[in-house]
Symmetry: C2
Subunit: 238 residues, 2 copies
């Protein structure tokens, strides 16, 4: 968990260049390899549980084994890949239902409280940025379902992350961002449908911020997280 983490959920649509190079030695080769693998995981190009061979990555990325191993080790430390001795690396398995519930339990313990604090310390400029982020979400009616969801996933992550930033606790913010990367993969697997409800709930949170009402913000966030959980829970019954 590194400090300058600029919310990495932005690599979702990274698919265009299908080439096998374009990796230049700008700031460390291992860094780029890491991001390349990370993007593949986030985009489900490597589905959960799938094997990850270093030879394939050597061919695809046109770099030697060493930086690839280093990047894989780092991903292992973050829990996104697992390694079994004499077998190799593979993407982390799909999240279990129990884990899912534990994650929402954690979110419910932290995010409403953080939303309440954010409401107390909200500045006008921060509120404007937050409203802008939420606004982008609502005005994309014509695009197709796939792109629409991708758009929502990014903006939803930004929305929650900005609230945590205003709340002021970087450690909690990093913790939730880290968990979000795991969660994102799960959500993508089931093509969770984005309903208008989520947008309405975001609007309710914004209203509480605008009123500088910590209690209302806390309650609105709690309702939002709980409903988000309930919207996704049926995915486990498939």
């Amino acid at each position: 968990m590194r400090s300058p983490k600029p919310l990495a959920a932005s690599q979702i649509a990274a698919e265009p260049h299908g080439g096998s190079q374009a990796i230049h030695r700008a700031a460390g080769l291992a860094e780029e390899v890491y991001e390349a693998i990370f993007a593949r995981l986030m985009a489900l190009k490597i589905p959960p549980g799938a094997r990850i061979t270093v030879d394939n990555l050597v061919r695809e990325l046109a770099v030697s084994q060493t930086p690839i191993r280093e990047a894989l080790g780092r991903l292992e430390g973050e829990g996104l890949v697992v390694k079994t001795h004499l077998v190799g690396y593979s993407a982390a398995p799909q999240i279990t239902r129990r884990r899912f519930e534990e994650l929402y339990d954690l979110r419910l313990l932290l995010e409403p409280e953080m939303a309440g604090r954010a409401a107390a310390t909200m500045t006008d400029v921060a509120l404007a940025e937050l409203t802008a982020a939420a606004g982008v979400m609502s005005r994309n009616g014509g695009t197709d379902e796939r792109a629409r969801y991708s758009q929502f996933a990014r903006q939803d992550a930004v929305f929650h992350d900005q609230i945590l930033e205003v709340a002021g606790n970087e450690l909690i913010r990093e913790t939730l961002v880290h968990q979000h990367t795991h969660f994102h993969i799960f959500r993508l697997m089931f093509h969770a449908r984005v309903t208008e409800e989520a947008l309405d709930e975001h609007a309710a949170i914004l209203a509480a911020f605008a009123a500088r009402d910590p209690a209302a913000a806390e309650q609105a966030m709690r309702v939002h997280v709980e409903r988000s959980r309930d919207r996704l829970l049926p995915a486990f019954d498939l």
Copy 2:
């Protein structure tokens, strides 16, 4: 010359449970390198911010560069070491005061709630184990200060971890354990004095568990964490 020289048992300096040579083939060399470096960090044999050269590790552990790089990458993913391009690895810097306060903020949001849940679901056997762990802490009056603190640090970690285990949320448990590794290094740096207060506070938590009183357990844990914070805060004024 393919003799896999066993890692020197130097990493078990603080661990009295040295179980001789272990299963090399089962776990992999990188695993052992990881644990060796981890132990060095926990024991402050590598102080915060110090450089970590792979050549030194090659000589000390008698293994090649590759498994060392892999282990360092994993440690980087966990945030215990940092890497700067074309400079190398170094131990993570000392925790800042702000980070310290954020950590206790997080603990206060989670641990009292978890203690309350634990009190509700506490079994007799779990309570006995917990009491045993707390009991070990109090009966070591004759030893020297250094060993006494080392003993306390281990048992305190076990105490809190067992409570989280009873509470039932593995994700929260893992999160706090992970943060504890960072915190442990800080606490060790300042030879934080272990007062009898901490033991009394643990006893109060146990009493609430014995009475199966969630509200009392939550309150006792809150008091304990807050006082722990206040005991350590003066270290930043040095």
